[in-house]
């Protein structure tokens, strides 16, 4: 089995395992929704080397787009999700187009500035977005013959979309496009010198990432029945980035781990101790200092240790160069 299919199987296992081990369908749905957002963030961070604080914009716009469609039109659920996806992609194309004109710190600052800009935009246009209160009472219509009102039914719907999106992102990552992104991340100057219009590639990466993030935002709004202002806040971008980094930016499945860990641990800790974010901060420090490959790296080491323990030392271990950079 190759690496990509292994990761897909792992993602499917997560989607199957969540209902077995969790009592709340809402929380389980939240895990998969943020797994999509984190994987989309990883396409920019891990594959293209772009640290974007703009992910919250696309997430929030997706929430609003789906909410507004379902509240004010009679369009079906599928159309609402499609519009949210498009809204995310369009916003990401614009934000990407302007931000990638600068590199490094200035790029990051630009995405941060856009994040603030969209937040205040949503805050200001209260008539459209509901301002501080958010967009309330978003319905969750049935999709075809399937009613989604019950939380596990909705989970099943989210899980199917999650697996479709995950497979699509894997395809993107392993395509000639994804491989070019890796090259751009590695050495942008050389990528341009051998003929690649680097900007166009980065903008396309943004568009794909924004589309998926917009869809995740829409699913989240449907999950909680609200498109809250917090969805487009800077803090949302931060959360998505933290999930991505904790999971590890080496491959897409790592983002699923990161999102699951973040959502579940946040839920557990917040019921025990209201200052739980402090612990999360501590964890981020540990990841940044000691485990840059994130939870995925930890898992890899664990598997390796188990294999070495079982096998006789005569058997050749996996060659490090084929292990080092995973897709």
């Amino acid at each position: 089995m190759n690496r990509a299919s292994l990761h897909f199987v792992l993602a499917a296992l997560v989607a199957i395992a969540l209902p077995l081990f969790m009592r709340s369908g809402t929380l389980a749905s939240e895990v998969l929704i943020f797994a999509m957002a984190a994987a989309a963030c990883n396409l920019l961070l891990g594959y293209t080397g772009l640290l974007s604080f703009g992910q919250g914009i696309f997430f929030g716009l997706g929430s609003y787009a789906a909410g507004l469609t379902l509240l004010h039109t009679s369009l079906p659920l599928g159309a609402a999700l499609a519009l949210a996806t498009i809204a995310g992609a369009v916003a990401a194309t614009g934000v990407g187009w302007l931000s990638i004109r600068r590199q490094g710190v200035y790029f990051v600052m630009l995405t941060l500035a856009f994040s603030q800009f969209f937040y205040f935009l949503a805050y200001t246009f209260k008539d459209v977005t509901g301002g501080d209160n958010g967009l309330l009472n978003i319905p969750r219509p049935a999709i075809g013959p399937f009613a989604l009102g019950e939380s596990w039914a909705y989970y099943a719907f989210v899980a199917v979309l999650f697996l479709l999106v995950f497979a699509a992102l894997q395809r993107v990552a392993s395509s000639t496009f994804g491989r070019t992104l890796l090259a751009i991340r590695d050495n942008e100057e050389r990528a341009r010198a051998i003929g690649f219009p680097v900007r166009l590639f980065k903008i396309t990466a943004f568009a794909v990432s924004g589309a998926v993030t917009g869809l995740a935002g829409a699913l989240h709004a449907l999950l909680i029945g609200v498109a809250p202002l917090s969805s487009i806040e800077y803090h949302m971008s931060e959360s998505i980035l933290i999930m991505t980094i904790i999971g590890g930016s080496g491959n897409l499945f790592a983002s699923v781990l990161g999102a699951g860990f973040y959502v579940i641990v946040s839920d557990l800790l917040s019921s025990i101790w209201p200052r739980w974010l402090l612990l999360l901060g501590g964890l981020l420090v540990v990841v940044a200092l000691f485990m840059q490959k994130g939870l995925w790296g930890l898992l890899e080491r664990l598997v390796e240790a188990l294999q070495n323990g079982r096998k006789s030392p005569v058997e050749a271990p996996v060659r490090p160069e084929s292990e080092g950079r995973s897709i």
Binding site: T176, R192, A193
Partner: protein, 257 residues
Amino acid sequence: MSTQVPILAADNLGVRYGSFVALSDVTLSIRPNTIHSVIGPNGAGKTTLFHALTGRVRASSGRISLNGRDITHVSDDKRVPLGIARSFQVTSLFQNLSVRENLRLAAQGRTPLQALAPWRGVDPRGGALAVADEVMERLELAHVSERAAGELSHGQQRRLEVGMAVAAKPRLILLDEPTSGMGIDDVEAMKALIRDLGRDHTVLFIEHNMGIVMNISDTVTVMRAGRVLVEGPPALVRDDPEVRRAYLGNMITGDIA
């Protein structure tokens, strides 16, 4: 000779960085299927000339044309499909990617928009990979094809650096000090390679090793302080008193074949 359309021509090319003039009034004409070298003391503007010709630096004045077509305002990445490829003086590879992947990307760079489709597999028709394998064979890198470029020896990295330009199958290939930092054996191999490249491509190269320059060049352009000092066949350049003065004791040696 004079009636032939030059493959690359620069007319009164100038490059300024703020008030600093890096290049001024450079007029250059590269005849097709020749090996043309650029020499000159450090700071003469050789690399800046390369940057301007490949589009990495915008010309402040003057005009560049490729096969008679004005490319002065064509961006660097768009000059690759037109048939210009280069190597860098300071090795610039995809350090974390394998040798084969480096060359595959370089071959793909001629049709970069094909790589923009996120659903398309890597090199479905195998064209770019075939080119990569061919270049690896030619540069004796086949035995390290799966190794990350960053793990290669210096000599291998310099060969791959040249290979990145070759994989684009350019009509004009620009090599910026291909032998820099190489050991003697590697230098000989590089000299043979450049001569060999001259059979299928037009080669423009910057070099400090006079043995190579005088040996394999059809034409030599000598630069000093951002200007062209002398241009001509190796024998003529070697005996030019201006050139000897420019190098001030940095003896121009090397046999003329």
